[in-house]
């Protein structure tokens, strides 16, 4: 029987995903707003990120203090992903400030997001202007709640690889391929 949510031991993340994600977080950060992106890929014990989907436009609310996707925008990228066998592995979004508190999930972050085993929720501080991924907050959903990964676990389970990544932009009306 196919496992619904195969356990994830490690997330294999192309270094190219770093720049593709931060470019958009910095864009919103420069406006004083939070931004976000979805990381899609293959779910396995070593889950590989293959696609960075950044969101801007209709159905994407970027505000000081919050970022949200309408169900229609989320559904649009979902159609793209499902057609290609990609699954949603992680959500990454920005906060202002730096340090452990700033890169922790807020109560809303924990509540209003995907709740499936080993879903990864990542917080980037300095409104996205933080290019050291070891300074980010990594939170995994397990046993019904999000748990922040400690430094040793991040070093072991968040693996940066040299590999291309697809970059998309989406909103309620379109999924635009921005290249590899």
């Amino acid at each position: 029987m196919t496992h619904l949510y195969p356990p994830i031991a490690r997330w294999m993340i192309p270094e190219a995903a770093l720049e593709a994600t931060l470019r958009d977080l910095r864009r919103t950060g420069q406006l004083g707003r939070e931004g976000g992106a979805l990381w899609l890929g293959d779910r396995a014990s070593d889950a590989t990120i293959l696609t960075v989907a950044t969101a801007s436009g209709e159905g994407v609310l970027e505000r000081t203090g919050s970022w949200s996707l309408s169900p229609t925008a989320y559904g649009r990228i979902g159609e793209w992903a499902i057609a290609r066998g990609r699954v949603l592995l992680a959500l990454i979004h920005s906060h202002g400030g730096a340090g452990e508190l700033a890169t922790s999930l807020s109560p809303t972050d924990e509540f209003a997001t995907v709740h499936v085993p080993d879903f990864l929720s990542v917080v980037v501080g300095r409104r996205g202007d933080e290019d050291d991924p070891t300074a980010w907050g990594y939170h995994v959903f397990e046993d019904g709640r999000f748990r922040r990964l400690g430094a040793a676990e991040v070093a072991e389970r968040i693996v940066w690889i040299s590999s291309p990544v697809e970059h998309l932009r989406f909103d309620e009306t379109i999924v635009e391929e921005l290249g590899v």
């Binding site: 619904l4 779910r43 169900p71 229609t72 559904g75 979902g78 699954v87 209003a112």
Partner: protein
């Protein structure tokens, strides 16, 4: 009943089942596994949504005044009138693809 009459009856049964049933497939972004089930055409979406959510092991939740809900999407459109039947949604079709979708809010 002769073998021929039996086969004819089975064939009629199959045809009747096709006319009266809709095969539903529901996708959910965090997994490649789809929920699949045949329902009578008069089944309302409330039931389909509930079965799909149970299959994907997700639940609507509240926290104070905040409510986190899931939506069924068909052909890119939200189907929030859950009293609608599969027959009304599918029209002449005998199988349809839906997506279970949520709203993401980060702060």
């Amino acid at each position: 009943m002769s073998v021929e009459t039996e086969k004819h009856s089975e064939g009629e049964e199959e045809e009747r089942a096709k006319r009266t049933a809709v095969k539903v497939r529901v996708s959910y972004q965090p997994t490649t596994v789809k929920f699949e089930k045949k329902y009578p055409r008069e089944t309302v979406l409330t039931l389909v949504k509930g079965d799909a959510m149970a299959f994907f092991q997700v639940a609507e939740r509240t926290e104070g005044r905040k409510v986190y809900t899931y939506h069924l999407f068909y052909q890119g459109q939200p189907q929030d009138d859950l009293s609608k039947t599969l027959g009304a949604l599918a029209g002449e079709q005998h199988d349809i693809d839906l997506q279970l979708v949520e709203q993401i809010v980060e702060s």
